[in-house]
C-alpha cells in the first residue's frame, strides 16, 4: 500500500544505486573507447568518462523522472565532478610533497647547512634556511605586530576624522601591494645607502606585507568587543588606556593572535622579496643584521633553479617544501586552536 501512494505522489524515482551504476558504466565505456581509439592520455579517458556520465545521467533521468529531476541530477553530478577534478591537483600537491619530501628529511638534513655541497650533489641540509626564515619572519613580526595592533586600536578606539580615514584608505591600498614591489622598494633603499644584502632587509619587506593584514584582522576583532564592557570599565573610573589594555585587548586577544599568526604564516612563504634582498647563503649565518642569509622559500627556489635537473637537488627542494608547509600548517592549526579556545565569550 505504502509503495503505491508514495510513488503516485513523488513520481518515478531512479533507484539509489543508479548514479554509481551509471558512473561505473561510463568509466568502463571510456576505458573501452580509449583503448579502441588508442588514446594514451589518461586525462582524455577521464574526460570521456565524465562526459559519458553526464549524458547518461541526463538521458536516463529524463526518461524516468522527468526533465526537472534530470537537470537536478546533472547539477549534482557536475558539482561532484568539479569537486573531484579540483581535488586531484590539490591532493597531488600534498601527496607529492610528502612522499618526495620525506626521502631526505631527517635529523641530519634539519641540523646541517648546505656548506660546501654543490647544488647538484646529494647531501647537505636546510638548517641555515630554517634559521634565516625564523629570524627574518620573527623580526618582521616584531615590527609589524605592534605597529599593526596599535594602529588598529587607534582606528577602533580613538580614530575619528581625517587621519583615521586616511589610515584606513592607505591600509586598504597596502593590502594590494604585490610582494615583489615591496621587495623592490626596500632594495632600492638599500642601493641608495650602498648596503650589502642582509637578512633584516628581507624582514623589512615582509613587515610591509604583514602590517596591513594585521591591522585589518585586529580591527575586526576589536570591533567585536561589546561596548558594554568598555562602558562598564570607564564608568568605574578606569582610565581609557587601562580599559583598552585590561578589558578590550584581553577580550579580543584570541582573535588578534589568530590574525597575527595567519599573517606570519602568509609571509613565511614569501619568496619574491626575499630573493631580491637577502642574497641567499649556503652557510649558516645567525646574524640577521649582517651578511647574506638564506630562507626556506628562497632555498626551495634555488634548489630548483640551480639543480640542472639533478634528482638530489629536487629531493632537497621537496623536503624543504615539506618543512615549510609543516611550519605554516602548524601556525595555522595553533592559530585556529587559539581562536576557538579564546573566542570572545559574548556570543552563543
Amino acid at each position: 500500500m505504502s509503495t503505491a501512494t508514495v510513488s503516485t505522489l513523488k513520481g518515478a524515482r531512479l533507484p539509489k544505486w543508479s548514479p554509481y551504476a551509471i558512473a561505473g558504466g561510463s568509466v568502463g565505456l571510456a576505458i573501452a573507447i580509449g583503448l579502441a581509439a588508442g588514446l594514451d592520455s589518461r586525462v582524455q579517458w577521464g574526460l570521456i568518462a565524465a562526459i559519458l556520465f553526464i549524458v547518461g545521467t541526463y538521458g536516463i533521468a529524463a526518461r524516468v523522472e522527468g526533465k526537472r529531476q534530470a537537470k537536478d541530477r546533472i547539477a549534482t553530478s557536475l558539482v561532484w565532478v568539479a569537486f573531484l577534478l579540483a581535488v586531484i591537483p590539490l591532493v597531488s600537491l600534498v601527496w607529492v610533497t610528502v612522499v618526495r619530501g620525506i626521502k631526505v628529511l631527517d635529523l641530519y638534513f634539519l641540523t646541517h647547512s648546505m656548506g660546501v655541497v654543490a647544488d647538484t650533489e646529494p647531501g647537505g641540509g636546510i638548517y641555515h634556511a630554517i634559521i634565516g626564515s625564523l629570524e627574518q619572519v620573527g623580526l618582521a613580526t616584531l615590527i609589524a605586530a605592534p605597529v599593526g595592533v596599535l594602529t588598529a586600536i587607534y582606528l577602533v578606539e580613538y580614530g575619528r576624522g581625517k587621519l583615521s580615514k586616511a589610515i584606513t584608505f592607505f591600509v586598504d591600498v597596502m593590502t594590494g601591494i604585490p610582494s615583489i614591489v615591496a621587495g623592490l622598494f626596500i632594495l632600492s633603499l638599500m642601493l641608495q645607502f650602498e648596503m650589502q644584502p642582509f637578512g633584516f632587509a628581507g624582514s623589512l619587506a615582509l613587515a610591509i606585507l604583514m602590517m596591513p593584514v594585521v591591522v585589518r584582522s585586529t580591527e575586526e576583532m576589536l570591533k567585536l568587543v561589546p561596548n558594554e564592557l568598555r562602558e562598564a570599565s570607564l564608568a568605574l573610573g578606569v582610565p581609557k588606556w587601562r580599559t583598552i589594555l585590561k578589558v578590550v585587548l584581553p577580550t579580543s586577544i584570541g582573535g588578534i593572535t589568530t590574525g597575527i599568526m595567519l599573517a606570519v604564516a602568509r609571509i613565511a612563504g614569501e619568496t619574491a622579496p626575499v630573493l631580491l634582498l637577502v642574497f641567499g647563503n649556503p652557510f649558516i649565518n645567525t646574524n640577521p643584521f649582517e651578511g647574506a642569509q638564506s630562507s626556506l622559500p628562497l632555498y626551495i627556489y634555488q634548489q630548483y633553479a640551480n639543480s640542472a635537473g639533478s634528482g638530489a637537488a629536487y629531493d632537497r627542494a621537496w623536503a624543504a617544501s615539506l618543512t615549510l608547509i609543516a611550519f605554516v600548517m602548524i601556525l595555522n592549526l595553533v592559530a585556529r586552536g587559539i581562536a576557538r579556545w579564546k573566542a570572545p565569550k559574548t556570543g552563543r
Binding site: 537536478d72 579540483a86 594602529t151 587607534y154 604585490p178 561596548n227 622559500p297 608547509i325
Partner: protein, 334 residues
C-alpha cells in the same frame, strides 16, 4: 554564526568613545592616556608614512625611467634597458598578466563555486567539515611550493591535454600547439587557478552558508528540486559575495611571482596561442630581470611594478565596493 553581534556592536561603539575622546582631548587626562594615544596614533602615522614613501618613491623612480624610454612605454614589444637608447614597454607583460589571470579565473571561479555548493549543499555533513578545513589550510600553502609542483609535476602532465586541445580546438588559433614544452600561458593559468581555488572556495562557502534558511525551505516547500533551490535562493543571495571572492583571487593571481617564474618559458613577445610557450607577466619579469638590471633597468622594472600595483589596486577596490554594497542591502548579514 554570530553575525548578528558583529553588526550590532560597532555603531553604538561610536558615540560613547567619541565623547570620551573629546573629554580626553580637552586635556586634564592622565599621562598614561596621553602616552597610549600617542603610541597608537604614532603607529598609524608611521604606517601612513611608509605607504606614502613607497608611493612617492615608486612614482619618482618610475618617472625617471619612463622619461628616458625611447620606445612607447605602453605599446613597445621589447625590454632592452641596457642599451644606450633604452627601449622598453609593458605591452607584452600586460597581455601576459591579463591573459593568465583570465584563464585562471575562467577555470577557478566555476570550480570554486561548485566546490562551495558541494560543501554546503551536497556533501554529507561528516565529510564537508574536514574537507572545508583542509581547503582552508591549502590556501596557506606557499606559492613557491605550488611553483615547484607546477614545474616538476604539472608541466610534464600537460602534454596529453595540450595534444588533445590542439587536435580538436587547434583550428581556433587560441589552442593551436606547435609541440613546444608545455610551459605556456595556459599552464600558468591552470596553476594560478589551482592556487586561488582554495581562497575563492572558502569565501564562497561562507557566503552560501549564510543563505537565509527560510528562503531555502520556502523553495523546497514549493516542490523545488535541490538544483532549483540553489539557482533561485542560494546563488542570487551569494552572487556579490562570490564576485568579491573572485576579485580577491584575481588580486592574488595578478601579483603571483614565483609560481609563474618557475613554470613559464619567458620570451618577450605576444603569442596568439595559449599553448605555445612564451610571454611574460609583470611580477615574473621583475623577478627574473632585476638581478642583471642596471640602476636604470631597475627603475624601468619599478615602472612596470607600479603598473601592476595600480591594476591590483583597481581590482581590490572593485572587490571592496562590491562587499560594501552587499553589506548595505542584505540586512541580516555581514
Amino acid at each position: 554564526m554570530d553575525t548578528t553581534q558583529i553588526t550590532d556592536t560597532p555603531p553604538p561603539a561610536a558615540q560613547p568613545t567619541a565623547t570620551e575622546q573629546k573629554r580626553a582631548a580637552r586635556g586634564a587626562t592622565r599621562p598614561g592616556d596621553r602616552i597610549f594615544l600617542g603610541l597608537s596614533r604614532g603607529s598609524g602615522i608611521f604606517l601612513l608614512v611608509i605607504m606614502a614613501a613607497i608611493a612617492v618613491f615608486l612614482t619618482y623612480r618610475a618617472s625617471l625611467a619612463i622619461s628616458k624610454d625611447h620606445g612607447n612605454f605602453l605599446t613597445t614589444f621589447e625590454w632592452n634597458t641596457g642599451l644606450q637608447e633604452p627601449v622598453f614597454g609593458i605591452a607584452v607583460l600586460a597581455f601576459g598578466t591579463i591573459v593568465s589571470s583570465i584563464v585562471a579565473m575562467a577555470i577557478a571561479v566555476p570550480v570554486a563555486v561548485a566546490i562551495a555548493l558541494f560543501l554546503t549543499h551536497y556533501a554529507p555533513r561528516k565529510l564537508s567539515g574536514p574537507i572545508a578545513y583542509v581547503i582552508d589550510l591549502l590556501a596557506a600553502v606557499p606559492s613557491i611550493v605550488y611553483g615547484l609542483w607546477g614545474a616538476l609535476i604539472l608541466v610534464p602532465h600537460m602534454n596529453g591535454l595540450f595534444g588533445w586541445l590542439d587536435d580538436y580546438l587547434g583550428w581556433t588559433g587560441i589552442f593551436s600547439w606547435q609541440g613546444g614544452a608545455p610551459r605556456s600561458m595556459l599552464t600558468v593559468g591552470i596553476l594560478l587557478a589551482i592556487m586561488i581555488l582554495p581562497i575563492i572556495t572558502n569565501v564562497s562557502r561562507e557566503v552560501f552558508r549564510q543563505t537565509p534558511r527560510m528562503n531555502e525551505e520556502a523553495a523546497l516547500a514549493l516542490g523545488a528540486t535541490r538544483w532549483e533551490v540553489i539557482r533561485m535562493a542560494v546563488i542570487p543571495f551569494g552572487r556579490s559575495g562570490v564576485i568579491s571572492a573572485s576579485m580577491l583571487g584575481l588580486g592574488r593571481a595578478l601579483g603571483e611571482t614565483m609560481a609563474v617564474a618557475t613554470v613559464l618559458s619567458p620570451t618577450f613577445d605576444i603569442q596568439a596561442s595559449l599553448l605555445d610557450p612564451g610571454g611574460g607577466t609583470f611580477a615574473q619579469n621583475i623577478a627574473s630581470k632585476f638581478g642583471e638590471a642596471t640602476e636604470f633597468g631597475r627603475d624601468a622594472l619599478i615602472a612596470s611594478g607600479l603598473v601592476l600595483f595600480v591594476i591590483t589596486l583597481l581590482v581590490n577596490g572593485a572587490a571592496r565596493a562590491i562587499i560594501a554594497r552587499r553589506a548595505e542591502y542584505s540586512g541580516a548579514n555581514a
